[in-house]
């Protein structure tokens, strides 16, 4: 009994990690006033590139997935640059542009994947990040399995939460970012370079989304599948809101969503009399409730998705 519970909780953390990575990047982006719904496309691109690079460099052994990770972050940033060109330079609508990026990314990835692997779907295994048990702590019964037997990306992601919190809320840089999302005109008057900060946040968000994708193809499973992101980009958007645009709260939100996934994976359709689809849709309902102010208080950055123009 405890075995199943700790298995599910461990899976919760593993499922929550890529979601959290996406959300952390998007928190920076949205705090700076931009909404990037193209992170879904960003993630699948990162998943593909990460897997591909790791596959080609499999002779590098343990370094292969690291190379894949770096490649996915770089590609994520390139996608972000394309996005920022449209929304920051041309000031196109952010939502529609994000949709366009998603379409573009999915199409290109599918095209490239078919070229490389062939439609026969021969799954190729790349080298992946292995589980690294934390010495001593991993031995603790139950808790050890839940918290201390994960791969390195999980540890880094969760350890970064307090760091990002301090950066965003307690440093001058972080507060400048927030001012871009709240009152860009006032920030501009104070000499803050709004577009530059927004671009940097987009680059960060792009890298994070790309790496989250790479997590899926380099740590979650050693394969690539053109549908593997399964809407995680959009879930990431929900997590950002559910977590009140706050890194640590987003961590909690990511675990809620991760729990839903982990639970529905484990339970067969009607084990507790609850169809797994209801478990999976619950986090979205919760997000709506949070947004509506019925569950906790949260407020979006005031100038979110409003293109900034220097007058």
């Amino acid at each position: 009994m405890f075995d199943i519970i700790s298995e599910i909780l461990a899976a919760t953390i593993r499922q929550g990690t890529p979601l959290l990575m996406i959300a952390l990047g998007e928190i920076y982006v949205e705090r700076s006033g931009v909404i990037n719904i193209g992170i879904e496309g960003n993630a699948i691109t990162g998943a593909f590139i990460g897997w591909f690079v790791s596959l080609k460099l499999s002779s590098w052994g343990m370094l292969a997935p690291v190379a894949g990770l770096i490649a996915s972050a770089s590609v994520g940033m390139i996608v972000a640059i394309i996005f920022s060109f449209f929304v920051l330079r041309l000031k196109t609508d952010q939502v529609v542009t994000g949709t366009g990026i998603n379409l573009l990314a999915f199409g290109l990835v599918h095209l490239l994947y078919t070229q490389l692997v062939g439609e026969t779907g021969k799954a190729l295994k790349s080298s992946i990040f292995n589980t690294i048990p934390v010495p001593i702590l991993a031995q603790i019964p139950i808790l050890g399995q839940i918290f201390f037997q994960h791969n390195i990306l999980v540890y880094i992601t969760f350890l970064s939460l307090p760091i990002l919190y301090i950066h965003l809320f307690r440093t001058r840089y972080g507060l400048s970012i927030q001012s871009c999302g709240e009152h860009p005109k006032a920030a501009d008057t104070l000499g803050i370079k709004v577009s530059e900060l927004q671009t940097k946040c987009l680059l960060f968000g792009g890298a994070m989304a790309g790496m989250a994708g790479a997590y899926l193809s380099l740590a979650h499973v050693p394969y690539f599948n053109p549908d593997m992101t399964a809407g995680r980009g959009f879930i990431g958007l929900a997590i950002v809101i559910f977590g009140g645009w706050h890194p640590i709260k987003a961590g909690g939100a990511a675990l809620v969503f991760g729990f839903g996934s982990a639970l529905s994976d484990r339970l067969q359709a009607r084990m507790l009399g609850i169809p797994h689809q209801f478990l999976q849709l619950l986090p979205y309902v919760l997000t709506l409730l949070v947004l509506a102010g019925l569950l906790g208080r949260t407020r979006a950055p005031s100038a979110l998705a409003v293109p900034f123009r220097r007058e």
Partner: protein
């Protein structure tokens, strides 16, 4: 010949649309070359697959039909200042309710049943969308996010409904609904061209006259012109938001019910996943390429429908994955946005 988008040749929306399509072909040819495909043979397979036979041309209309509905839905919302990204979920809800009605009312006279199916799908698609509208009007929830969330909720509800849920076939074997016994009449023998296509075109023409010949239409157009060419915020439509979302969602819901009884196999299946190429999302591209003009949306939907039909042939003959259409659609969409942005800059420079 001035290249300015404000005056001169490129100012005309049809010229812009054609240039966008041509530019998109060029860009995609480059992409195909980079992937070791031959763009000439690929595109000719695409074109022939789409227009090569009478049947395939009819098929274009069939594929364009849901896109026409969702394009109108999205366009209507955009013109009222609200971003309905939830057409996909509203489509799902419409098809679910239509299925329920089709099964529950199977003993009713066919004409009545068809009417009920269409109106119920339409109504509930609208109600689903109105949730987002209410959330925005009364709680200030950004409709972009709420409609996306509702998409996923609808998706999982549908997934459940035909898989162990109330809509599953009585044999309870496959995750699909019962067969619906009423169909929309087929207009031409040996094709799949159905009455729903006429309905969609009629709605498009109807919205066109609404926009051009009535006071409401004039007001919508004025708001719409602003919305399309400039920022989203600052347009105050709070009272009408819920209504706008309702109407928009009802069109998307109608798309779902029309597809159910218009296209074989006349039953509801469990969706594999939320596809970026679903009718709700492509409707956004359809609406924008047509600059929110209902007549333009007819052609835009036909273009995207043609892409789908041709892509299957292209995959069969040339081995180019059908997903290339996703790239084509994306480049079209991004080019549309680019042109619109440049046009706006020209306006500012000259103004």
């Amino acid at each position: 010949m001035s290249l300015s988008t404000k005056s001169g040749l490129l100012a005309h929306p049809i010229v812009q649309a054609i240039s966008i399509v041509l530019l998109s072909l060029v860009i995609n040819s480059i992409i195909l070359l980079a992937c070791n495909y031959n763009p000439a043979t690929a595109f000719s397979a695409l074109f022939n697959g789409a227009f090569g036979s009478f049947r395939s041309v009819c098929e274009i209309f069939v594929r364009a039909c849901p896109l026409l509905f969702t394009g109108l839905a999205v366009s209507f919302a955009f013109q009222c200042g609200v971003w309905n990204i939830g057409a996909e979920g509203q489509y799902f809800v419409g098809s679910m309710v239509a299925t329920w009605m089709g099964v529950a009312g199977k003993d009713l006279p066919p004409f009545t049943l068809i009417l009920l199916i269409l109106t119920s799908g339409c109504l509930f698609g609208g109600l689903w969308s109105a949730i987002a509208g209410l959330l925005k009007a009364h709680r200030g929830v950004q409709e972009v996010i709420s409609t996306i969330m509702l998409n996923y909720i609808a998706f999982y509800l549908l997934s459940y409904a035909v898989d162990g849920g109330p809509l599953q076939e009585s044999a309870k074997y496959y995750p699909q609904s019962e067969l619906i016994h009423v169909h929309l009449p087929i207009l031409l023998d040996k094709t799949r061209l159905h009455m729903g296509v006429l309905l969609a075109i009629a709605l498009a023409l109807g919205s066109h006259s609404l926009l051009m010949s009535t006071t409401i239409g004039y007001r919508l157009r004025a708001v719409g012109h602003n919305v399309f060419a400039s920022r989203v915020s600052g347009i105050n439509v709070s009272k009408n938001i819920t209504l706008a979302m309702f109407i928009s969602g009802s069109l998307a819901g109608l798309a779902g019910s029309v597809d159910l009884i218009g296209v074989s196999p006349y039953r509801l299946f469990q969706p594999g996943g939320m596809s970026m190429l679903g009718p709700g999302f492509i409707g956004i591209a359809v609406a924008l390429l047509a600059r929110l003009n209902p007549i333009g949306i007819i052609f835009s939907a036909l273009l995207f429908g043609g892409l789908q039909v041709g892509a299957d042939a292209m995959q069969l003959i040339e081995g180019v994955p059908a997903k290339l259409t996703s790239v084509i659609q994306a480049t079209v969409l991004l080019l549309v946005l680019g042109f619109a942005a440049i046009e706006q800059k020209d306006t500012i420079i000259e103004g």
